[in-house]
Amino acid sequence: MIQTFPRGGIHPPEDKFSAGSPIKVLPLPKTVNIPLSQHIGAPSEPLVKKGDKVKTGQWIAKCKSFVSANVHSSVTGTVTKVDKLMDSSGYKRMAISISTEEDQWEEGIDTSDTLNRNIVATADEIIQKTLDAGIVGLGGATFPSHIKLSVPKGKTADVLIINGAECEPCLTSDHRLMLEKGEELMVGIQLIMKKLNVKKALIGIEKNKPDAINHLSSLAKGFGGTEVRPLKVKYPQGGEKQLIKALINREVPSGGLPVDVGTVVHNVGTAYAIYEAVQKNKPLIERVVTVTGKDLQTPSNFMVRIGTPVSELIEAAGGLPEDTGKIINGGPMMGKALINTDIPVTKGTSGILLIPSAEAKRKPVVNCIRCTKCVSVCPMGLEPYLLQQASEYKKWDIVEEERALDCMECGSCSYICPSGRPLLDYIRLGKSTVSKIIRSRKQ
């Protein structure tokens, strides 16, 4: 049975140009800039200073609070500065810059490609190693993974969901990972299942990746409790709440977490990183990044060291096309436009997308004609036109009442709007203002 979420959603062109390109290892960059805020939560605290020699995989910044993540050096070399640098958010934030000298790994890290299926780690060791390795949600949300490996007191989880939907157009990094690192991924899933003490894991994959579905389905026979579930192609299938609804027909309550309905969701990339951390003792210092675009010479998938400037990836894929109008960190629906190509790849970078200048600008904005298209595509059952108006006229009580905070910013409303209205822009404004109001109310 092919499943999907029932309410809303859109079908943007898939444009998965790089789906057939195997993952290539990107040569080491001359310098890396490793931001200390690559995750949701408190920035990590640097453990090195200018002039220090660091090895590949060395711990260079530590988790500062419960919601935070460790950071490791992705190259061997000398720390050139610890200073504020522009990252993909567009803000200048703390980062550690290292000039690359060689690639000598920290001791105790298994850098071989041999598969290690033999799970000896205890549940506590699994969570500790995940925390130590600085793993965050690699689907893009970058929420520290060790938190999602523990079920809060009073709650239970009976099923693990692995997100291989990759519903964002253009991106293929998860697709390639599932094809090329399938067995490692399956072991990673076993590790998460062991830690969460669940007996069942469902891997959700959109059916536009039949090779990944077949490959993981045949592998799943060798691993108890795991099952691959093909999903209809519909954006935002990979949204956490939509994926849960599609796979196990449970609705995460407004303001709640997946564990409220007995499940935990991890991305395929995260499961692979957990495998590497636990079985290979390897911290999260590299990830698969798709580099793609209509006019790009060779749309590719690269294994990239964290902190590599985006420009190096673009060069390796054939160089920046002449009429590039926009450079995006992530996919076309939820990615962030970059200000320049010096910005480093971080743990959350799933792709770099180049958009031609003809498509870089928005449609002209005209009056809302109340066509109801935004309401019908909203996967959360909200009324984007109303939230937009209420935000524009600063009616924050209406914005709150109409549940702007349920919005996950998938962008379906802005995508579909025939009037080219900046629906999501205003909803974001409404969300942040309402959040502030709610915080001040609590004080």
């Binding site: 309410r7 449970r250 076309p332 436009a337 320049n340 909200l382 709007c417």
Partner: protein, 333 residues
């Protein structure tokens, strides 16, 4: 990097739909009905439609440019749709100056007074039509006979619409079975061989255009379906109780402006509700009011009034009828 790039928040891709494409989609959907009208009513249909469209577009341009002092947006096609729909709701022998007045009321009062496209609470074409209907009741209720006066305009041979024949006959105590002999057969009603307004006569052509709009996702099925269903149920009950004094549901569906109203006028984006549930309430309201006016009211036809009355309820419906929010009721299966 030495060149400028765009930086803007997500999403970075957009769908193909524009207001212009949607409006022209409605125009294409109305073309079969226009062709059939020209076939049956001849030059009258062409003259009325042309005058209506030209004056609607001209008034929109003039009001935007000289009164509102804003950039005219006539190329979006919305004034074209209003002009076409206004013409479709007028008899084909209507003098040109009455049409111009109707266009002025439709665009000027019905639409621009409220701020233009997207802001009007009432369907502009219907505002124009009802204004004319009340101001010029004689001219607005004389309909040319099909085929016979295809080369005449205001001097066309006129006749009564089937709805008027039935209304008059029933109130004079003539049984329905006798009245059916005086009106065109159901197949003729379906194709459009009857006296009536320019664009309302052919249910066949209007439904074909409606199907086109459905497949292009210009409209959803909720409003037309709820109107048709409520008319069938309401008239069906009356007909089953007393078939001698009541017309059957099929007659009500095929006569008057019901199909035009249900598929093209009630589905106007701006003046209809935002949620499927709201659309059902809206559609049922239109169906019930239409039948109530046709059977108990002073006029033989009530679709225009019904739609305008329900237009007035749309803000209220939008306020109280909300889509089902994700995660509102926790349902675990």
């Amino acid at each position: 990097m030495d060149k400028l790039i765009t930086v803007s928040p997500s999403p970075h891709v957009y769908g193909d739909d524009t207001v212009k494409k949607l409006m022209y989609g409605v125009v294409y959907a109305l073309l079969p009905a226009l062709l059939i009208s020209v076939y049956f009513f001849g030059i009258g249909a062409l003259i009325v439609t042309t005058i209506s469209i030209v004056s609607c577009v001209a008034f929109e341009y003039l009001i935007q440019k000289y009164l509102m002092k804003s950039e005219p947006s006539i190329s979006d096609g919305s004034a074209l749709v209003t002009g076409l729909l206004l013409a479709f709701n007028l008899p084909t022998n209507l003098p040109w100056w009455i049409i111009v007045i109707g266009a002025l009321v439709a665009i000027g009062v019905g639409k621009m007074t409220f701020g233009g496209l997207g802001n009007n609470p009432f369907n502009p074409a219907l505002v124009g039509r009802v204004f004319l209907f009340i101001s010029f009741p004689v001219q607005m209720t004389s309909w040319p006979e099909p085929i016979v006066s295809r080369l005449q305009y205001t001097d066309a041979v006129t006749g009564a619409t089937p709805l008027a024949v039935v209304k008059e006959g029933l109130s004079a105590g003539v049984p329905m079975s006798r009245l059916l002999e005086q009106i065109p057969g159901y197949m003729e009603l379906f194709i459009g061989y009857l006296p009536g307004c320019t664009g309302e006569i052919s249910a066949l052509a209007l439904l074909a255009g409606g199907l086109y709009m459905l497949t292009r996702k210009i409209i959803t099925w909720h409003i037309p379906a709820s109107i048709f269903l409520s008319v069938i149920i309401f008239t069906g009950i009356l007909w089953l109780i007393n078939p001698y004094d009541n017309a059957d549901p099929l007659f009500h569906l095929l006569s008057g402006g019901l199909v035009l109203g249900a598929v093209y006028m009630a589905t106007d984006y701006v003046t209809s509700p935002m949620t499927p549930k709201g659309m059902w309430i809206f559609g049922i309201g239109i169906g019930v009011i239409t039948v109530a006016i046709r059977i108990y009211g002073a006029y033989p036809e009530g679709v225009s009034f019904a739609i305008l009355i329900m237009n007035a309820f749309v803000p209220l419906i939008n306020k109280y009828v909300k889509p089902k929010r994700f995660g509102e009721e926790v349902k675990n299966g």
